[in-house]
Symmetry: C2
C-alpha cells in the first residue's frame, strides 16, 4: 500500500494533517529523528516510542555501505532488521555525497556520481536507479528520489544545470522504482534561485510523486535565504500531498517551515547535540558540562515529561558527561527528541485552536530571549 495523506486543516499556510503508512499513522507537522545506520544512536525503538516519536529517517548511503542493502533485505527489510515497527523514511544518498565526500573525490555526471567511500576510499558509483533499488530493498515506507544537493553559493548556470539533471534523475528513479509497499517522494532543488525553485517544483510535481521534499535549504546559506527557498517552492506543491523539508531541526526553522506549509522535518540535531552535552529547554539550549550545574539537582527541564527529566538531575547528567560516560548522551538524546516531538504536539494543538501564530511568537520569544 502507498501512503495516504489527509489534510485536516489549514491555518493560513500552515497545515494540520495525517499520514497513513503501512507501519502506522501519524499526525503532521511531525519531526523525524535520524537513525543513520539502522539505529537512532544509543537508543532503542522502545525509547523512541516512549518519547512520542512516530516516524524515523534512515540513511540510504550509510546502509548501502554498511551492512549493505542485501543483508537488510535478507533480514526481511529495515523494520525487521532494526526491530522498529513504525514508519521509516529513507533519504536518497544525495545529501551524503554532498556533505561527506570532498569535491575532488567526486565526479557528478549525467549517469550518476562517481566518488570515493568516506570509510575506505574505494570507488563507488551511485545512480538514480541504484539509489532507488537500494531503497526498494531496504523496504522503508517512504523513499526519496536521487538528487544533487546544490552547494551554496552556486552560480545560476551551475544551479540550473544541476536542477535540470536532478529532474532527469527523478524520472529515471521513478521508472526504476519497484516496490508496491513503498511510496516515493520527489525532491525540489533549484538552489537559491527563485525561478529555478519554481521550475523544479512544477516539473517535479508533473511526475506525480506520493509526496514532495524540499532539499538543499540547509547547506550553509543564511536563514532568510533558507526560508525564501521554501517559499519559492512550496506554493507550487499540491495540497493533497505531504511536504517534507529535509535536514532541518532548529526550533525556529521548524516553526518557520510549519508556517510556510511544511508537514515533515528530519535532522540529526537533537541527537548529535545531545552527545555533546547540549539539551533543548523552553528557555533555550543549555550545555550540561557547565560547572553551574554541578550541584543542580533539578531536572533538565521542569516542564518536560521525558524519561530523563522524570528520573535524573542536571548534576547527574553533568557528572556522566564529565566522567565520559555514554549514558549521558543517551539520556540527553531521549530528552532532545522528546523536546522536538512535544513541540510538534503543541504546534498541532495550536493549529487545531487557530493559535499557531501566537504559539510561534511565544515560543521564539522565550527560547531565543
Amino acid at each position: 500500500m502507498k501512503i495516504k495523506y489527509e489534510l485536516i486543516k489549514e491555518s493560513n499556510r500552515a497545515r494540520l494533517g495525517k499520514l497513513v503508512t503501512n507501519h502506522g499513522t501519524f499526525d503532521t507537522p511531525m519531526f523525524m529523528p535520524v537513525g543513520t545506520l539502522a539505529n537512532v544512536k544509543l537508543l532503542t525503538p522502545e525509547e523512541l516510542k516512549e518519547a512520542g516519536s512516530a516516524v524515523i529517517l534512515s540513511n540510504t548511503y550509510h546502509l548501502w555501505l554498511r551492512p549493505g542493502e542485501d543483508i537488510v533485505s535478507k533480514a526481511g527489510g529495515l523494520h525487521k532488521f532494526m526491530n522498529y515497527n513504525g514508519p521509516i523514511l529513507t533519504d536518497c544518498g544525495g545529501f551524503q555525497v554532498f556533505s561527506l565526500i570532498k569535491n575532488k573525490e567526486k565526479d557528478i555526471t549525467e549517469e550518476g556520481v562517481h566518488f570515493k567511500s568516506h570509510i575506505d576510499g574505494r570507488n563507488l558509483f551511485l545512480t538514480p536507479e541504484l539509489s532507488i533499488q537500494i531503497q526498494n530493498k531496504l523496504d522503508s515506507d517512504i523513499a526519496m528520489s536521487f538528487d544533487e544537493c546544490i552547494p551554496f553559493p552556486a552560480t545560476y548556470e551551475y544551479a540550473k544545470k544541476s536542477t535540470e539533471r536532478t529532474l532527469r534523475w527523478a524520472k529515471r528513479g521513478k521508472n526504476a522504482f519497484n516496490n508496491d509497499n513503498q511510496s516515493l517522494f520527489g525532491i525540489v532543488q533549484g538552489g537559491a534561485y527563485k525561478d529555478l525553485r519554481k521550475y523544479s517544483a512544477l516539473e517535479t510535481v508533473k511526475m506525480d510523486f506520493e509526496g514532495y521534499s524540499i532539499g538543499g535549504t540547509s547547506v550553509g546559506e543564511d536563514k532568510e535565504t533558507m526560508y525564501n527557498m521554501v517559499d519559492w517552492a512550496i506554493k507550487y506543491l499540491p495540497k493533497d500531498k505531504p511536504r517534507y523539508l529535509m535536514g532541518v531541526g532548529e526550533p525556529i526553522d521548524l516553526l518557520e517551515g510549519i508556517e510556510r506549509g511544511v508537514d515533515m522535518f528530519d535532522c540529526v540535531l537533537p541527537t548529535r547535540i545531545a552527545r555533546h552535552a547540549n539539551a533543548f529547554t523552553l528557555d533555550g539550549k543549555i550545555n550540561l558540562r557547565n560547572a553551574k550545574f554541578k550541584e543542580d539537582f533539578s531536572p533538565i527541564d521542569k516542564e518536560c515529561d521525558c524519561y530523563t527529566c522524570k528520573h535524573y538531575s542536571k548534576a547527574y547528567v553533568r557528572h556522566l558527561f564529565v566522567a565520559g560516560e555514554s549514558l549521558g548522551g543517551r539520556l540527553l538524546s531521549i530528552h532532545n527528541i522528546r523536546f522536538l516531538i512535544k513541540m510538534m504536539e503543541n504546534v498541532r494543538n495550536s493549529l487545531k485552536n487557530d493559535k499557531f501564530e501566537e504559539f510561534k511568537e511565544l515560543f521564539i520569544k522565550r527560547y531565543y530571549k
Copy 2:
C-alpha cells in the same frame, strides 16, 4: 538498618541464602554488575532490573574523584543520585589504587596511600578513615573496609607486612564508620600464602563485620592459586554472614567460588567484554564482529530471554559494532548481564534440588568445550 543474611541451605560447601537490605532483598549466590561511575555503562536502572539484576557495585575511588562524595551526598546519596533504588555495594578504593596507579606513583604507608590521580596526576591521599567516610556519604547499602590488594607474586615478607597492615586499617575504618543504614564488610587478604589467608580471615572475623570479602584473588595468579586462596580463607568465615569474592566474573570462577561457599561476586567482565563485541552463550563466548555472523539472523543465544535476544539478530548486532554504533555495546551489556544473572538463578535452582555439582559439570562441559 543493617543487612540481614539468612542461610537457607547448604549443599556440601555451596550455600543458598538470602540477603535483606534497606533497598530490597535478593537471593544468593548472586552476581553484581559494576556501575563504576554511578552508572552501569550505557544502561539504565530499569534495564538492569529487567535483566534480573538485584544488586550492583559502584566504585568509591572513582566517585571520590568524580563527582565527589559531597555532591552525591547532597543529591541524597548514591541511590537517589543515580536513580537506582536497589541495593548498592561500594568497594573501598584499594583495588583501584592497586590496578590504576603505577608503582612509582604510589607510596603505601601505615597511615594510608599517597598516590597520583589516574585522571589528572594530582596528589591524593587515601586512608582507611577517608575510604569509610566517603562510603558513609555515598550511603551505599554495603561498604568495604580499606585494604591493600597484594600484588602477585609477592614475597612472604611483603604479604605478611601488608596483611597485618590491612588488619590495622580494617580496625581504623571500623572505628571511623558512622552510618546506621549501611553495613560494613571486612576484607580477607593474605596473598597467595595459606597461613596468611587463615590469619587474615581469623583476625578479620574477630572484628565482627556484617559480611566478609575475599580480596586479591583475581590479580594475575593462575586459577588453581585463586581457588586455593578462597579455600584457605573461607573455612574460617562464619556461616551466618555473607561471603563476597571480589572482582570475579568468569563463569567457571563463579561456579568454583559457589562450590567453595561464596555468596556474592562482582566483575566488570560482562559489560566490558560487551563493549568489545563479546557475548556469553551457553556454548562459550562469541565475538559479534566475526564475519560469520554477517547474515546470521538468529538471536545471540536462542536459550536467552533477555531484551536483546528477544528482539535482535546477530547480524544486526554485528552491523552495529562494525559501523561503530554504541547501541551494540548497550545491547550486549544487557545480554551478558542477563546471562550471568540467569546462570545464578539456575545455580540457585540446582542448589534447591541438590543438583549443583551436576549443573556445574554440565555447564562447564558445554561452555568450555
